[in-house]
Symmetry: D2
Subunit: 495 residues, 4 copies
């Protein structure tokens, strides 16, 4: 199969996609969030999914979609943009059905297109089928080749269409067995939801790389990438779906079966550090509490004398509370964030850089002046943000700026669903901590150790730490031609 | 395979789709127009396709799309709306490639969706493939079943996706042979264009139901549903593609092969009566001239004494000139059309009917008063328009209104690409000419005879006249579950 | 008062403004159309105005607006774009009131802005007041100066705001007397409608330069720029409003008074030639009939031997029928217009000129080949369109092309409401007829004489012929600083 | 002058206005923010204003506008929506000039319209003039009457147009003297910026009700509603503009003059409690520090025994830090806010209330369970939010919920620029503290005392406390007919 791809243009998007400004674009991006509900008669599945996607919006702002089923007919609505742009009252009212799956996808500028929006819906031998997916496969190319040999065609560039085609190919008996057979062929990271009839199938890969939580609502059963999405919509969280488990949600009950053999657990550590919401519970750990513990851990090993702990809004807050608590230092919100400055902000000209930089994040010099500051952030990607931040604090009068990072240095790309690009973009891949400190301009720079992170989370053996230590529990892709761009680049980076 | 379908919602359409008002919606709709170009290095294939689609816009106003290829990579842009809404300078500039195919689809309110917009593009064993189609298959359901058994999935409800899947399934050797094999399986009406690499394949069904014209431009070779689209963009028309012929357009030349066995010719007569543009040439006949001949023919057999010939804007003009010429009666434009009144016009309330009716079409009573009028229209579908028209002319002072119709009575649905709904919507299916005359309120009503139509067109043996005589040269569908709604209704109507 | 102006930007316009392509932009533009209704209880004034503006849309496509009043409260909705873009069901439903005025404004690309959209509405001493205006004043600058001395401010650059301020300034007694006093100060051309309470005041300048027609509907009384707008919405045309007359429309009746002294009549001749709709009646003359007479007149004095009369779509049609009738030559529609090619059409690159030119207007060579053609158009502005047209006809095989123009040569700018720019843009201002013929490439070129035009219209003494003979019945502006751009340019041209 | 008003409809707004959901709409709204810059040659005044308005966006999200001047010509762009929706790169690039004023207006659903967007620009005797205004007048009706007697007309319902008309009326000598004369006629609260030529005039009412800060940038001088807007764009804050002072900013320097006699200072206390950004400095007080002091003050007089201090995101944060510091209690972020849930969120059906309520604000029960909670908020308007909040905390397992409010009870409407509606909507206007506590369901409820607030801010004599004590330093309106709707309601409430 030749290495070709098709880029599908689409018309202008009604509401502009929004996010954070590029001087603060120096952040990690999660790929997706999934939601599913199997409801009894009367269940407004689309409305519930809509609320569930709002609660998962932090996991992806690029596109959003919901597919509903009344058991016979499916209706799907998806588009580029955030949940608030993609759906309105009329659209939700038109999505009639008692079961549904939904999806949000992360926001980037490059290769995004509405054809890659999920869920992906198609008619197959067993009728209508819809699939949504969080994670990333590493053997997509091989699977595509095999399917294409059998006559399959691919209208998108997403893993999800490949998964849907596999299910269709194996569906001679039942969808249930087809999903079992399909997931046994998948290599990589996945938390999948599949809608067929009024049944929702939810599966997690054997290492449990991406979270997936099961819950109950008065109208039926729900599944979501994070437990907080279930509790936020008033549901009760039952438990995590186990690695390698398939849970079958029907209006009247749930069934479970192991569909993949037990492997070493490999839950993404960055879900705790950064991605998941503070009020989510994963593997029994409250994310907010693990973040506070990361802060305490940093404080425990710190030998820095300081006057004030300042969190970087928004992500550093939980960690900063932990650091302040452990160190006994006062905490103050000396950095004010302007939430209105987002992706559509017109970039300042060179001559206006001094105007633009302070607009998104502004230091309160009255608090900082003459002080020795402990600043807490979650991670360092390229280091450009940290450099601006330290400069800003010094200019605002801080005597010393000591930077503490909740996570260990990010040295390796992620192949399992996080947008960490090629190693060469990661400052920690090529610089020592002291080189980074000098580049950033901080008086001192402190990373969490891998052990400190494991202890803070409390799962010493069950974490995927590939981006810190290069040990990839699910392997890395090779010869892929239908993955997204950064995967292809990574391959080259790996040669 | 269960009888399910998926309705894909899409976000609001930028520019509202426009067309004629519903009191004048009593018209036939063509399904589609196709365009293709295989150009040499430097050929701006997207720009040329854009212009070609403008020239074919009358064949479909629902959606428009262009897929370009530079031989390696394909880019597709399509959306709901007319060509002017779907494309702008930036979009066209982004469609980089030297070969392309394009498509326009007809405008309706019901089941339309952007997922059914064409061309449909997918990656298969032989790389990227794009297909666009004018016509309608009658064995889609059987083909779907067969493909689904082999694992295929269908993301749209269009025939075109089925054709694309068949090509992919048969493409183990070459695309050329796969298309040959595919078209041999298709039953019904089709004029197809397929883009693969920088080659365009153009095929017409064995009866030649829909027109397809071949031409040359300085930059390469072109194919279009109508010859006028080729001459309008400055190209030279070479000839019609023959029924059952496949022409392979590459940047450097064209090759031809017969891919379907000879059958009886069955060119749609309504292409001459109504659909095709007056300046198109089909089978060597200038459409405008055949229409004038239809008018002359009506006049020849007419025994009506009248004062004035009045064309119904816009379609009746050519015929009216012919009638006036033959009869020696003067012609005058006593009906003024308001082109601004389109689909987005707010419907008048019951109390305002008298305001609304005259707004779209307005009689000049100063011309009509006391006169015996010959009014010329192309066809009668439900008869509602004709009734309003006759009433309007009488109220404007016409002494007598004699209505002449270019075509014979429309009595049977079309299964080959024209939106003639179930027979029960066709007034001629249930009423005699005199009943129709009374319903319409005309002083006399005259239809073309089938023989008169055949002679006017000059193709006595090669026309599809199914909508007039119920003789379906390509058969009718059965057990279809992936066709469009009216086909399903037709099936029921046929049982 | 300093020569300053303010350009008010506004957000993007929902529906793109549409019109004809620029290679066929070589046309005259009317400035405006006005509509008014004073209805009894229950009259849906907004809906009626909406329909009236649809019937006047040909007089202006730049912006549209309606102001309604229920006698106490006014609501105004206006925006850039055509009636179909500016209004929808929800907006019309929100415009609650029994009396209304409406306005359409012509479409151009330059200085247009929503702040100049009409009606202009303001609160003054006597309550809410709305004004809409067709025509152009020549003493705006002097009036502005005088008003500004008294403290008035101007938020727009339109004559209408000046008129509204004058009425407010003079309204110590009554609106009626204020309008009387106001119009006595205005120099130039105007057909005005003013809404106050539930009364509509309609006034026409002393020469009656722009048409204004009075009518009756079941719900009350209406006024419109053209009689066809009244009959199109089912109303009965009563009569023209007289030059210098003010008609006061109230829900229960109409009153009339002469508000300006009798002057020489100066009705714009181009209203007959081009602007007004064929079914309008002005001064008792049916516009369509005057156009046919212009054609007959051209034929009467013609010494050209030809084979075929071909109208230029759309405007030349009536004239062509007259010419054909008088000359005995056959008429055929050998030029096909593509109505989809409008303002949003992407301009062809230089290399594609041959593609683009034929797309908007396409000759049927089968009809033209070897023939001597009489082509009929209404006017020549820059001559660029005529040149392309003649070239196209020759290339399509016409043996001879003889061009006949309904009107005399356009040599002088218009200051009274038509967008005829500076003289230097008018080919007839600097070239003799023979020079024009050579520039255009026609075998012969024939203009109507001024006398021929006067006889065709049948108003030998009552026409404004300034654009043909430079005799300006209302004078020309001087020292103006709040007029539109072309007026300022004209002033410089006049110095 | 009759009591009429005109509601000007405008087309749909490109980007939907966003804000907080209505269950959390139980908040106060500021009316406006103003910005001005007088720059030297080369100053990109529009870009600077754009950034300044971003920094003031929290003061108004309904509409935004910028007017620039190059000394000769003014260009204004304004529209409904937030700064990011109203402006883009192309628009900003089109706003050419070295001086500018800008405005943001608060977001509500009712009577808003683009005609009321500011700045308001008009041509007067002295040329172009632009005005933007923060505050509210109480004698608008009387001023309107007087102006209308002299012939003025009003196209909007905003105070700003009245102010502009007054300046125009008094501008026979100079704009400077006209502004002096104008402000002497204004009763109420105002911080005004006026643009004329390349000069910006900034004036504050005699009591200094709304803040207005003066600063310097490399390119010239700036003025803004808050000092943080100046420092956020990299400028240096010079000082507050004094009550009754006019500062004249020209490209080369600033001049000051007292234009109003000294009166009692009456700075809005709610600017410290809620409206102004934490990093703004007003009268030398850092807003963040005054908020922490309000928290300390609440803790000082508190006799409550508790386990944890929980801030209400976002406004209660500074106060919560102060309370925690003074009380020695730990602080934790046990309430997670979902920032994606904004104004466009589809309201949950009754049956889904349990889903919707927790979506915007979600408690972390793992932190709250069994704890005695101190919850800190800034104010109570209707009390509906507080009730939901307390219920949510109890359901999450909190043993006791003690609510502390930074400000005294809100008992009286504001006439000076804050959207506090009629007294009957304020729970504190009709209920005792204990009644409120019971209504809200809290275990205890504690308001700041007026004295506590005065001490926290540190301006015991200079604050407007009207909303707490009903003492209106600028009086209240009477007989007003051009104010906004809520003022009229207030009048009725006052009768």
């Amino acid at each position: 199969m030749e290495k070709q791809y098709c880029q599908l243009h689409e018309g202008p998007i009604a509401g502009a996609v929004e996010g954070s400004e590029d001087i603060f674009e120096d952040r990690l991006h999660e790929e997706c969030g999934v939601f599913g509900v199997a409801g009894r008669s009367g269940c407004a599945a689309a409305r519930m999914s809509y609320m569930g996607l709002y609660a998962l919006q932090h996991r992806g702002q690029e596109s959003a979609g919901i597919t509903v089923s009344d058991g016979h007919k499916m209706i799907c609505h998806k588009n580029m943009g955030m949940v608030r742009h993609v759906f309105d009252e009329t659209i939700i009212d038109g999505l009639i059905g008692t079961s549904a799956i939904g999806h949000v996808r992360y926001s980037t500028t490059g290769t995004s297109s509405v054809v890659n929006a999920q869920p992906i819906v198609a008619r197959c031998l067993k009728g209508m089928l819809a699939v949504a997916h969080n994670g990333n496969l590493i053997n997509t190319a091989a699977l595509c080749d095999e399917l294409a040999q059998g006559g399959s065609v691919f209208q998108t560039t997403s893993d999800t269409e490949v998964i849907l085609n596999l299910i269709a190919r194996y569906s001679t008996e039942s969808i249930e067995s087809a999903i079992r057979k399909t997931v046994s062929k998948l290599k990589g990271s996945f938390s999948l939801v599949v809608l067929h009839g009024n049944t929702v199938y939810a599966v997690r890969d054997g290492g449990g790389n991406r979270p997936l939580s099961l819950g109950i609502v008065p109208e039926g059963y729900v599944v979501a990438s994070e437990s907080s999405a279930i509790s936020s919509i008033g549901g009760e969280v039952l438990r995590d779906i186990d690695p390698g488990e398939m849970v079958i949600l029907s209006p009247d009950g749930i069934r479970s079966q192991r569909v993949l053999p037990p492997t070493k657990r490999a839950l993404c550590a960055m879900e705790f550090v950064y991605f998941s919401r503070a009020d989510s519970v994963i593997e029994g750990r409250l994310v907010h509490e693990t973040r506070k513990e990361m802060g305490r851990q940093l404080a425990r090993v710190s030998e820095i004398d300081a006057d004030l702990v300042v969190p970087v809004p928004e992500s550093g807050f939980s960690t900063a509370i932990g650091y302040a608590e452990q160190s006994g230092l006062p905490l103050d919100t000396a950095l004010v964030v302007n939430r209105y400055v987002g992706r559509t902000f017109i970039r300042p000209l060179q001559a206006e850089r001094n105007m633009g930089v302070n607009l998104k994040l502004h230091p309160i010099s009255q608090i900082l002046r003459g002080k020795r500051i402990v600043i807490i952030d979650d991670s360092i990607v390229r280091g450009t943000t940290s450099k601006l931040l330290v400069k800003m604090l010094h200019e605002a009068g801080a005597k010393e700026v000591h930077m503490f990072i909740s996570s260990p240095p990010l040295k390796y790309p992620c192949f399992y669903g996080i947008d960490i690009s090629a190693s060469r973009e990661l400052i920690a891949a090529t610089c020592s901590v002291d080189e980074m400190r000098r580049s950033i301009g901080a008086d001192s720079l402190h990373f969490q150790t891998i052990e400190g992170l494991q202890q803070s989370i409390g799962l010493p053996d069950g974490l995927c730490l590939a981006c810190f230590n290069g040990e990839y529990p699910f392997g890395i892709p090779r010869g892929c031609d239908c993955g997204s761009k950064h995967i292809l680049e990574e391959e080259q980076a790996c040669l």
